[in-house]
């Protein structure tokens, strides 16, 4: 038995190493995830870095009507700029992120010590304007408070009278909150790499072999069919594992580069975390390849196989994508579901949270059991007469 498995494994590995498409799929594709994630971290990091008050620009419409406000803003070190044109259009067009509009009656109401109105025009769909908006609002609120205190003082009243509540925010996440979102993106990205890494080889060695007409002569050889299948399965598994290792190395390098770039998002799990992640998802790789082999065996053509296997990665990635925004606490039943349990575990490992050994055991055993069941079913499919013939 081992002989046949080994011979088929060696042949398929050699054959596919010579295939540029398989190698590209296995080695280049997994690098896309880290690349996208790296760019995202740098971009979001820059976006979320609070702008310095020095040389911060406050765009205003009708600034001449509010000299006190302008003076206050300039006192803080920021620069006031007058918007030339319709503020709404300018913001909509993205020329500026926010504009403070001072209405005609501002001066009169202020002089009469009444409540004057200012508008801050913003386009909330532009995520990049979040920091500018909050900075601008902050300045306006502080100006309003200072003015109110002055008015109370003029009436010989305690300035704190008008401020019954002082709000302080204590963020225990200490800058890691946003970083966790990025770590949460790793499980779906990794699941994708698992289901893409060896897929071309799985198709080529089964559906491809049938379509080329080389499966029929192969099946006339004195070898058990499930041994042939196992050799092909193992070759695909090795390519998948290589792709996943490549992806993990790329993620580690990406985190190192992001850390070096100092964009304000501090995430960089250690090498040992990545090693643990690899071990945790190893059973999923076997599961993924087994699924690919059986699909490539029962489908009628290469094209049909490609269609199904192209869609397949979306299913295991879906729960992970949801978990990016709604992190779940791992429960034992989740560990029973291949890919779901591992998505939870990888997320926990990446975030540096404690991992329940029972959960790891359950996920490994459950996934391997399902994998063996799929392989047994695939072996049965290999015994069917139709297996040798293309549609």
């Amino acid at each position: 038995m081992l002989d046949t498995v080994r011979i088929v494994f060696a042949k398929e590995t050699l054959d596919n190493l010579r295939d540029r498409r398989t190698v590209l799929m296995s080695l280049i594709y997994p690098f896309l995830g880290p690349l996208v994630l790296g760019l995202l971290i740098v971009f979001v990091g820059k976006m979320l870095t609070a702008p310095a008050t020095q040389s911060f620009q406050v765009w205003m419409d009708g600034s001449e009507r509010a000299p006190a406000l302008v003076a206050y803003i300039e006192e803080q070190g920021a620069v006031v700029r007058e918007a030339e044109g319709d503020p709404r259009l300018m913001v909509k067009a993205g020329d500026v992120q926010t504009i403070v509009v001072v209405p005609e009656d501002f001066g009169d109401l202020m002089a009469a010590e009444n409540t004057a109105r200012v508008q801050v025009v913003v386009d909330s769909t532009r995520l990049s304007s979040i920091m500018t908006l909050s900075k601008t609002l902050d300045m306006l609120q502080r100006f309003s408070r200072t003015l109110g205190e002055e008015r109370l003082r003029a009436l010989s009243l305690n300035p704190e009278l008008g401020q019954p509540l002082r709000i302080e925010t204590v963020n225990v996440a200490a800058g890691r909150n946003i970083a966790a979102v990025f770590l949460n993106m790793l499980p779906p990205f990794l699941m994708f790499a698992v289901f893409i890494g060896g897929v071309y080889l799985a198709i080529d060695t089964t559906a491809g072999e049938r379509e080329r007409g080389s499966l029929e002569p192969l099946l006339t050889l004195p070898a058990r069919r499930w041994h042939l299948m196992l050799g092909k399965f193992l070759a695909s598994l090795v390519f998948t594992a290589l792709a996943v290792v490549g992806a993990l190395v790329a993620y580690k390098l990406m985190f190192e580069m992001v850390a070096a770039a100092r964009v304000g998002i501090n995430v960089n799990p250690g090498v040992e975390v990545f090693a643990k992640v690899f071990l945790v998802i190893l059973p999923v790789m076997a599961f993924a390849v087994a699924l690919q082999v059986i699909i490539a065996t029962v489908t009628r053509s290469f094209k049909e196989t490609q269609t199904y296997l192209g869609l397949l990665p979306l299913i295991p990635s879906a729960p992970g994508i949801v978990m990016v925004f709604v992190p779940v606490t791992g429960t034992t039943w989740m560990m029973l579901v291949p890919t779901l349990g591992q998505s939870v575990l990888v997320g926990q490992l990446m975030r540096g949270e404690p991992v329940d050994p029972l959960h790891v055991t359950v996920s490994v055993v459950a996934t391997l059991a399902v994998t063996v069941a799929i392989l047994v079913a695939a072996a049965r499919c290999y015994e069917r007469e139709q297996v040798a013939f293309a549609a």
Partner: protein, 252 residues
């Protein structure tokens, strides 16, 4: 020796072969002939263990193709109609792969590969990847890999299909040499000239059944025709054309 008795095989509701019986003896070339869809390929596929018969049996050197599959597989060399190659492997690697799956190893295997490269005149392309091989070159590789374990019985499905004149002649020479060496050769064909030149025993299939069998001379005598092609047409297509390609389309 290859024996087939009472063979029946249907795909869903389409009967491909029905009650087919014949014997292919050692030291003889046995030809399975008939028009397209007569059941030649189905019969051969049962023999080389790819299909299971619904009724009857097929034996190779006394081993049953269903209950003793591996023993049959060891004793046959098969050139199926599907003779696809692996485009990224060289000719030599193809033969080595099959040899290894037959349990051959090391120097003995390499010697056998050299021998086949020599016999089949493959030296000029033996170490080239199969991508872009001509039909003749593809056939030689397919032949070499099916003969690597020196099988006593060989089954060739349409061996000269799509070959040019010189490749066809080389193929016929090889078949004669194998017969003279005492091998049991079973081939299918629908080319009468080829059949007449090669076969010692003919099994004519029409519509999934054996229409007539015997030596070419016996068949001519039985059908009362002077020419084998005439005889063939008269038995294979009695009255109307049998043009439904049953086995080929059975899995579509």
């Amino acid at each position: 020796m290859i024996e087939v008795q009472g063979l029946r095989k249907a795909f869903r509701n389409v009967v491909a072969v029905e009650d087919v019986s014949f014997v292919a003896r050692d030291g003889q070339v046995t030809g399975l002939i008939g028009p397209n869809g007569a059941g030649k390929t189905t019969t051969l596929r049962v023999l080389y263990t790819i299909l299971r018969p619904d009724a009857g049996w097929a034996r190779v050197d006394g081993h049953d193709s269903v209950t003793d599959r591996t023993a049959v597989q060891r004793r046959i060399g098969v050139l199926p109609d599907n003779r696809g190659l692996y485009v990224r492997l060289t000719a030599r690697e193809h033969v080595r792969y099959y040899g290894r799956l037959h349990g051959m190893r090391g120097a003995a295997l390499e010697r056998r590969i050299d021998e086949l490269v020599e016999t089949l005149d493959m030296a000029s392309f033996a170490d080239r990847p199969a991508k872009g091989f001509s039909k003749g070159q593809t056939l030689k590789v397919a032949l070499a890999r099916c003969l690597v374990h020196s099988p006593h019985n060989v089954i060739f499905d349409e061996p000269t299909n799509g070959l040019d004149v010189s490749s066809s002649r080389a193929m016929r020479d090889l078949i004669r040499r194998m017969r003279d060496a005492g091998h049991c050769v079973l081939l299918s064909s629908h080319i009468m000239a080829e059949v007449q030149a090669l076969c010692d025993h003919l099994v004519v299939l029409g519509r999934g059944r054996v229409a007539v069998q015997g030596t070419p001379e016996e068949i001519k005598r039985q059908t009362g025709k002077a020419d084998l092609e005439e005889a063939f047409v008269s038995v294979a297509r009695p009255g109307q054309p049998a043009d439904e390609d049953v086995p080929e389309r059975a899995y579509a």
